[in-house]
């Protein structure tokens, strides 16, 4: 290949990169504006009497809380206690012990005086065999299912089969819900019964917080930079990404850690896919697909104020596993439902969110990585001015910092969960730090996920937890 040919190819690719750069930044800008506007709007609408109204209203539907657990002996008792204390008129907690090899079940049996039950259920969804069902005379709203290990999706399907109520809330057994989180999240179901089929809520980072008796007592920022950066990332993702997409009824992801679904709609769509590592996103996309194909009106909402706290990875190894898994889940879901992409039949989902996710969530790490590799090559070949390259990189970084700072601002105006003024400074530092090393690492992991997906890797990896009972630093 002659040098001039190489120059032409690189020139074209650079042009593509520039177009991509403007497209992705416009994408973020639109989501930011939509998320900002909608969060403020929802916040203004929600008033104190509203919570009371929902607590008393006969129209507030009963909810089955499904919590799959695998080797959670350290926190499971505290977490179930906190679930049983939720402020909600009528609910049941179904904890599914997904073949834990530790003493998760034993601790639950002892703590809640569980007894074997002959409870039957309607096996609407397939799942691995159930070894036993436990109920407690002291806690009538608690059911513990002990089953053969089959993964989170399988455990959720088993829990779904056993649930008695028309709405179910899927949460991680290690997550902590604020006492009124369920009441806030159910609002879209009360406002549009039969139309709302799912609603997601905000997940926040619990690392560093003071957690006692299964409740977040005081909110603190973690001392370590890795979880700090993830806090900023979560704020951006939930307040802008998810709120933004929910504006046009095109939300594709409801976090597996905290989401509310209409049971019938989930079962009709086929329940959770047991062969996917992104089962939460996959179910939401399938529910969209089912409803759009059946031409039935529906709504998938997102409520910015309910809060679920979760622990995020504190070391790079665990973070890598988590991020590659998320990316594999994304690739898997988009490929499974590729027939929906750019098809007007699927409305905003097919024409906007799926192409957006394809370009700016799935493919963007490949483009970004190629950009990092290409810049020095272009510079060495004398095809790019070093000052322009540096200015361009700086522009990209400043743009991301601006969006993160806007997320912090929105958090502070609307929720103010971080009480000290110093916390704001630290969050802003996190917004800056994120761009130097962290972002590039996550890009690399997301690229690696393509390779893992190609190899058919369906593993989850183990989330190492420090335990939320202790102050994480």
């Amino acid at each position: 290949m002659t040098r001039s040919m190489l120059e032409v190819i690189l020139g074209w690719y650079t042009g593509f990169m520039l177009i991509f750069f403007f497209a992705i930044n416009s994408y973020y800008l639109v989501l930011t504006i939509a998320g900002f506007w909608r969060t403020i709007r929802v916040f203004k609408e929600v008033r104190r009497p509203d919570q009371r109204r929902l607590l008393r209203s006969p129209l507030t539907p009963p909810v089955s809380v499904l919590a799959p657990a695998f080797n959670e002996e350290a926190n499971v008792v505290e977490n179930v206690r906190s679930l049983l204390m939720l402020d909600y008129p009528l609910f049941e907690v179904i904890l599914v012990n997904d073949g834990s090899s530790d003493d998760t079940l034993g601790r639950l049996v002892d703590a809640f005086d569980l007894r074997r039950s002959a409870r039957t259920f309607d096996p609407a969804l397939a799942s691995k065999p159930i070894r036993a069902i436990y109920e407690s005379p002291s806690y009538p709203g608690l059911v513990v299912v002990d089953k053969v290990n089959g993964g989170k999706a399988d455990a959720l399907n088993a829990g779904l089969n056993l649930s008695l109520y028309p709405i179910f809330c899927a949460i991680d057994a290690d997550s902590i819900l604020e006492s009124d989180a369920l009441l806030r999240l159910v609002r879209p179901f009360v406002d549009s019964p039969g139309v709302t089929i799912a609603a997601g809520g905000v997940v926040r980072v619990a690392n560093g917080c003071d957690v006692r008796s299964g409740q977040v007592r005081r909110v603190h920022l973690p001392r370590r930079s890795l979880p700090l950066v993830q806090i900023v990332e979560y704020l951006r993702a939930f307040l802008f990404g998810r709120m933004g997409w929910s504006t046009g009824n095109s939300l594709l992801v409801i976090s597996g850690a905290f989401g509310l679904f209409e049971k019938r709609a989930a079962i009709l769509a086929g329940g959770y896919a047991t062969d996917s590592v992104g089962e939460d996103m996959e179910l939401v996309v399938r529910m969209h697909r089912y409803r759009r194909e059946a031409r039935q009106p529906y709504r998938i909402g997102f409520v910015p104020d309910p809060i679920c706290w979760t622990e995020v990875p504190e070391n790079l190894r665990v973070l890598r596993r988590q991020r590659t898994r998320w990316q594999r889940g994304l690739i898997d879901t988009l490929l499974r439902h590729r027939a929906m992409i750019a098809r007007p039949r699927y409305g905003t989902v097919g024409m906007m969110s799926l192409p957006g996710f394809l370009m700016f969530e799935m493919i963007s790490p490949l483009v970004e990585l190629s950009g990092y590799l290409l810049l020095p090559v272009l510079w060495m070949l004398g095809l790019i001015n070093a000052s322009i390259a540096v200015a361009f990189l700086t522009l990209a970084i400043l743009y991301m910092i601006l969006i993160s700072a806007l997320a912090v601002l929105l958090e502070d105006i609307v929720f103010r969960r971080y009480p000290r003024i110093l916390d704001l400074g630290r969050l802003l530092i996190g917004a800056v730090l994120e761009n130097f090393g962290y972002r590039q690492l996550t890009v690399w992991w997301r690229v690696r996920a393509f390779w893992e997906y190609w190899r058919g890797d369906l593993s989850w990896g183990v989330m190492e937890r420090r335990g939320m009972g202790a102050r994480a630093g």
Partner: protein, 355 residues
């Protein structure tokens, strides 16, 4: 290769963006500092204002003199304290709060807010007027019930329901069939709390309305409020062609538990809709009568899990005859029937729990 970008505009963009980031950071810190100052002032002034407020409320008639001399910031805080108290207090104190709210001029402000161009302001004004339960607010709220914005309408419906005046509840009954579902729901919620005061109007509405959704909502209310005057109507609706009307009617009847429903429930066990069969079995569980056992035993073999579940529950509550039927079902050739019988017997502690 020609450069796509010149350095100068790029540098300008960098400087502009950096400026925006810095400005945003400064704004963030400033707005936090200002709200922190406000918070401190609030926590400093609140105990004092609350004391003044209690003094004013406890004097008879309400004596607002010291409160009238407060500055703008304190008045704002005072208003929020009053609204918070109004949320929790009813009876004489509630009336005193309402009176104080009026005397201090807040009521007038809210009434003016109902005429605002901004829908959000109108909705907030309606919500605050509802909290204070002031009769003077009724004309404004009734007008707001026809507002063009649905949020204002539903808030006004809720607010009207808070005022202690049964005559206006009749107006809410008509809203059960409102074209907007949110408004209709809000009316239903208010009536679920206070509908006993207008029981006849609800029953009459269920009987005469041409709105399907309105009728269904009224039937639900008859069940929730256990309105016995609606029993005859429910008996009639249990034979309706619309399965949803039948389901809601059977459910409402099961909540009332009138002996006249027994036969209809038994018939309902053979309904083509599983939801009706389910509710009928649930209704039969209220009677604990041996007469219900044959029908429920048949329902134990229903193909739908929920019907089997409610039939077994009803049998477990039907005394010794029901328990006997469940014991017999333990020998049934169909595993789902056996399992359900075992579960309910275990729950009723009639068989030992599984090891």
């Amino acid at each position: 290769m020609a450069p796509v970008f010149a350095l100068e505009p790029l540098s300008n963009a960098v400087i502009g963006l950096a400026g925006a980031v810095i400005l945003l950071a400064v704004f963030l810190i400033l707005q936090r500092s200002v709200s922190e100052l406000r918070r401190r002032r609030t926590s400093r002034r609140e105990p004092l204002l609350t004391k003044l407020l209690y003094d004013a409320l406890q004097s008879s008639p309400v004596c607002p003199e010291p409160l009238l001399r407060l500055d703008r910031g304190d008045r704002k805080l005072l208003r929020s304290i009053l609204l918070r108290l109004a949320l929790d207090l009813r009876g004489e104190t509630g009336e005193a709060i309402s009176e104080l709210y009026r005397v201090l001029g807040f009521l007038e402000r809210d009434l003016a807010g109902l005429g605002s161009r901004c829908a959000s302001t109108r909705a907030h004004a309606a919500a605050d007027l509802g909290l204070t339960r002031s009769p003077e607010a009724i004309p404004g709220l009734l007008k707001a019930m026809n507002d063009g914005d649905v949020r204002v309408r539903q808030t006004a419906v809720w607010a009207v329901g808070q005022v202690d005046d049964p005559s206006i509840l009749n107006g809410l009954v008509r809203l059960l069939g409102d074209r907007n579902r949110l408004v209709a729901q809000r009316a239903q919620e208010v009536l679920a709390e206070r509908g006993r005061e207008v029981a006849d109007a609800i029953v009459a509405y269920a009987e005469t309305t041409s709105s399907r959704s309105g009728r269904l909502a009224a039937i639900e209310l008859i069940g929730w409020l256990r309105l016995t005057p609606g029993a005859d109507l429910l008996l009639e609706f249990m034979g309706d062609l619309d399965p949803e009307v039948r389901v809601k009617s059977v459910k409402a009847a099961a909540a009332i538990g009138d002996p006249r429903f027994l036969e209809s429930f038994s018939t309902g066990l053979g309904d083509s809709s599983w939801a009706v069969r389910c509710q009928a079995a649930k209704g039969l569980s209220l009677y604990g009568s041996p007469d219900t056992v044959p029908g429920l035993t048949r329902a134990l073999r229903d193909r739908h899990w929920w019907v089997r579940f409610y039939a077994a529950t009803a049998l477990a509550e039907a005394g010794s005859f029901g328990a006997e039927a469940l014991q017999e079902a333990l020998q049934d050739p169909e595993p789902p029937v056996r399992d359900m019988a075992r579960y309910l017997l275990e729950r009723a502690q009639l068989v030992p729990a599984l090891p």
